[in-house]
Symmetry: C2
Subunit: 191 residues, 2 copies
């Protein structure tokens, strides 16, 4: 998606530890006009797939998921992060390790909001090592719902998480794939 790639090249910075800093438009300050175009693009890519629900994880996936949901005309469910394992009977839960923060946490979704009849599109702002997406897939599988695929705003291709999940059969559509990033700059696939 050219508008997004241009924006990354113009505003993103590379922080220590392979962190791509895009908090001026994506995950702290949010450019909702851009999110609208991102949502429209996800809809173009998945509109034939009978999506009944969009699933994301708090916090920075929520805005993008909501704008995409406008086009799909379906609800969004966001998985909640919890520090400790809660063995509660009425939620699906799985464990995720955070790339950015180096911590282990649980994500949970109430059982009432994921059903076997659902056809799920996962949406998230970043795909790095794939742990978050892997966790969301686990929740969808626990609910015996159908996972149609995942829409990702920025994939850090060099970290390999996307390739691993694709090899396992997941359909992933990333609007910008970072091939390389370091102090000398950012290389985006296709640019």
């Amino acid at each position: 998606m050219q508008q997004l790639k241009d924006r990354i090249l113009k505003e993103a910075a590379v922080a220590s530890g392979h962190v791509l800093k895009v908090d001026s438009f994506l995950n702290h300050q949010m450019d909702v006009a851009l999110f609208y175009e991102i949502g429209k693009e996800f809809h173009r890519l998945f509109k034939q797939d009978g999506i009944t629900k969009i699933v994301t994880v708090e916090a920075s996936g929520i805005g993008i998921a909501c704008l995409a949901a406008l086009f799909f005309k379906v609800p969004v469910v966001f998985a909640k992060k919890q520090k400790t394992a809660n063995l509660v009977e009425d939620v699906y839960t799985t464990s995720v390790s955070s790339f950015t923060h180096g911590k282990l946490y649980d994500i949970v979704i109430s059982k009432e909001f994921l059903n076997p009849e659902d056809r799920i599109l996962l949406i998230d702002d970043f795909l790095a090592n794939g742990c978050a997406l892997n966790g969301l897939r686990d929740l969808v599988e626990q609910a015996e719902a159908t996972l149609v695929g995942a829409g990702i705003v920025i994939e850090k291709g060099f970290q390999g998480g996307g390739d691993q999940l694709r090899a396992e059969g997941m359909r992933i559509e990333s609007l910008a794939v970072i091939e390389k990033m370091d102090k000398d700059g950012i290389v985006i696939s296709g640019e």
Copy 2:
């Protein structure tokens, strides 16, 4: 806002400890078509006020803030929650106590995203004891930006936080005010 009030009366449940459970449409599963109408209503109420930025706090305020921002055509900035006090020079930070979870946490916003020229609309899903809104106001004041007011989806009027903040001069527009809730049901102002 009638559509919202109807939805609360139809779907909300009262959980223990004065918690209004609206996670089927507001803060776990999110009805984005309803959020669109909520955003439109906030715009109707504040469109004369020269808003330059919408500020909310993660996680459940983000979706509503993003839909409202579509109408205002301004960016959203969400305050991030942190467990521990980080004395970082490039962020505004303040301490907030959570009504729902009974914990103390910090909220932070990067200084680069709040400026003295900004005219800020705060948006949040709930107003109970007013601590979150009070914290967001503190961040806006630290930045010497102008606080225009706050748009709240559901105010629990009986907890008094809104009245206190109004008495201090804050303009608060709540789309539904709960006067009373218990095992016998929910009473919404004006219904």
